[in-house]
C-alpha cells in the first residue's frame, strides 16, 4: 500500500520476440535500401553515405539520454525503483551509441575537413554527453546500496541533461567569436528518404535494446527478492 511497496516487484513482462526480429530486419532493409538508392553526392561523393549511420546514431543517443532524464525525474518523484532500472538501461545503450556517434563523426570529418576532430558545438557537446554517460555509469558501479545509487544517479542524470544544451550554447558562442560556422546545406529528397528510414530503424533498435537491458535488470532484481524470500520464508510480516 505504501509508496515503497511498489519496490517489491516480480519478473518483468518480456519484450515480444517479434519486436527484435522486426527491428533487425527493418534495420537491414533500411541500410541496404539507402545504400542502393542514393547516388554519389556532387560535393562529397560516397562520403555522403556516412550520413545513414552517423545521423541516426546521434539521434538515438540524444533520445536515450532523454529517457534517462525522464526516468530519473520520475524516480525522484515517485520513488519507484523500476524507473531507476530503466534509466540505467537507457544510459548503457545510450553511451554505446554515443561512442559510436563520435567515431563515425571522426570518420566523416577526416576526409571532409582534413581533421579527425573539430571543436564545434555539435561535436563538443556530444563528447561532453559521452563523458557524462561515463560518469553516470561509473557512479552506479561505485555505489552498492540501491536506494543511494538510485537517488544519486538520478541527480547526476538530471544535472547532466541540463548541462548538455548549456555546453552546446557556450561552445557555439566560443566558436562564432573565433571562426565562421560551416552552414548546413539543404538535403536532396533522394537522400532524405534513406535518412528517414534509417532514423526509424535505429529508433526501433534502440527501443528494443533498452527494453531487453531493462528486462535483464528486472530479472536480476526479482531474483534477489525471490532468493531472499526463499531463504527466510516470505517477507510480508
Amino acid at each position: 500500500m505504501s509508496p515503497a511497496a511498489t519496490n517489491q516487484f516480480g519478473p518483468p513482462k518480456p519484450a515480444p520476440a517479434w519486436l527484435g526480429w522486426l527491428a533487425f530486419l527493418f534495420f537491414t532493409f533500411a541500410q541496404v535500401f539507402s545504400l542502393m538508392t542514393s547516388p554519389a553526392d556532387a560535393m562529397m561523393g560516397h562520403l555522403q553515405k556516412n550520413m545513414y549511420v552517423h545521423v541516426p546514431a546521434a539521434w538515438v543517443t540524444f533520445g536515450a539520454f532523454g529517457v534517462v532524464l525522464v526516468a530519473s525525474l520520475y524516480f525522484l518523484w515517485k520513488d519507484d525503483e523500476r524507473a531507476d532500472l530503466l534509466a540505467a538501461s537507457s544510459a548503457e545503450v545510450g553511451s554505446l551509441f554515443c561512442g559510436l556517434t563520435l567515431v563515425l563523426g571522426m570518420l566523416w570529418g577526416r576526409p571532409t575537413w582534413g581533421v579527425w576532430w573539430s571543436w564545434d558545438a555539435r561535436l563538443t557537446s556530444t563528447l561532453v554527453l559521452f563523458l557524462i554517460f561515463v560518469g553516470y555509469l561509473s557512479l552506479r558501479s561505485f555505489v552498492e546500496d540501491p536506494h543511494r545509487r538510485g537517488q544519486w544517479s538520478a541527480a547526476v542524470g538530471i544535472l547532466g541533461a541540463i548541462n548538455v544544451p548549456i555546453v552546446w550554447m557556450s561552445v557555439q558562442w566560443w566558436r562564432t567569436l573565433h571562426q565562421i560556422q560551416s552552414s548546413p546545406r539543404g538535403l536532396a529528397p533522394e537522400y532524405l528518404r534513406g535518412l528517414m528510414l534509417n532514423l526509424a530503424a535505429f529508433t526501433l533498435l534502440t527501443v528494443w535494446f533498452i527494453w531487453r537491458r531493462y528486462e535483464a535488470a528486472r530479472y536480476e532484481r526479482a531474483a534477489e527478492h525471490a532468493a531472499q524470500a526463499a531463504a527466510l520464508g516470505g517477507y510480508h510480516g
Binding site: 546500496d145 541527480a155 548541462n163 566560443w174
Partner: protein, 228 residues
C-alpha cells in the same frame, strides 16, 4: 521564524567549517601550494617564450584553481565523515538546503582565498599586465568561482561518501564545469587583452545565467543526495 533559524544554522556551519579548516592548518596551505605548483608546471609546459605565456595565462589560472579546488571540495565533507559528524548534522531539524548553503559559502571563502594567492603568483609568473578593467576581472573571477564551487560542493557530497572518491569527483565534475570554465576563461582572456572584440560583457552575462541555473539545480537536488 523557521527561516531565521535556518539562517542561523547556515552561519553556524560556515563558522564551523572555516574554524576546523583554520585549526587543521595543513589544509589551506597545502591546497594553495598545489595551486601555485600547477601554475609553475603550466609555465614550464608552455615554454619560456613570453608572449605564449601571456596568451595562456587566463586558461592556466582557471585550471590551477579548478584542480586545487577539487581537493577542497572533498575535504569539506571529510570533516563530517570523521567521527560520524555527518550523521549528527543530518539529525538536526531544519531545511536540508541550509546545510548545502553553509558548505557552499564556506567553500566559496576557502577557494576565494586560494584564488587570491594563485592569481598573485600567476601575475608574476606569466608576466601579466594588469589592465585598467581589473574590477571587471575580479567580478568574473567571483562569478566563475561561484559556478565551480556550487557544482563542486554538490558533487563532493556524493563522491566523498563513495568508493573511489578521488577519481569519481573529477570524473563527474569536470564535464559539468565546461560551460562555466569556458565562459570564465574567455572573459578573463578578453579583458586581459583589452577586450578589443567587446565580448567580455556577453561572456559575463552567460556566466551569470550558468551560475543561476546550476545554483538552482544543485539547491533543489541536494536533498536527494545528502539523505541516504
Amino acid at each position: 521564524m523557521a527561516f531565521r533559524d535556518d539562517v542561523r544554522r547556515i552561519r553556524a556551519i560556515v563558522w564551523k567549517d572555516l574554524t576546523t579548516e583554520r585549526r587543521s592548518k595543513a589544509g589551506f596551505n597545502s591546497v594553495a601550494s598545489l595551486g601555485v605548483t600547477i601554475l609553475v608546471l603550466f609555465g614550464l609546459a608552455l615554454g619560456p617564450d613570453g608572449p605564449a605565456l601571456h596568451d595562456a595565462a587566463a586558461g592556466a589560472l582557471w585550471l590551477a584553481i579548478l584542480f586545487a579546488g577539487v581537493l577542497a571540495f572533498n575535504r569539506s565533507y571529510q570533516v563530517e565523515l570523521d567521527g560520524g559528524a555527518l550523521e549528527a548534522l543530518l539529525l538536526y531539524p531544519g531545511a536540508r538546503w541550509a546545510i548545502f548553503a553553509g558548505k557552499l559559502i564556506a567553500n566559496l571563502i576557502f577557494v576565494t582565498l586560494m584564488l587570491v594567492i594563485v592569481v598573485a603568483v600567476g601575475i608574476v609568473l606569466f608576466s601579466v599586465d594588469v589592465p585598467a578593467s581589473w574590477p571587471q576581472i575580479v567580478l568574473i573571477m567571483m562569478l566563475g568561482v561561484l559556478g565551480i564551487v556550487s557544482l563542486g560542493t554538490f558533487y563532493a557530497a556524493m563522491s566523498s561518501r563513495s568508493r573511489a572518491r578521488e577519481v569519481l569527483l573529477p570524473l563527474l565534475l569536470y564535464p559539468m564545469l565546461i560551460p562555466v570554465l569556458l565562459a570564465a576563461m574567455s572573459a578573463t582572456k578578453a579583458l586581459l587583452f583589452g577586450d578589443v572584440m567587446n565580448e567580455a560583457g556577453a561572456w559575463m552575462q552567460m556566466l551569470v545565467i550558468f551560475d543561476v541555473i546550476f545554483l538552482v539545480a544543485t539547491f533543489l537536488a541536494f536533498e536527494y543526495v545528502i539523505e541516504v
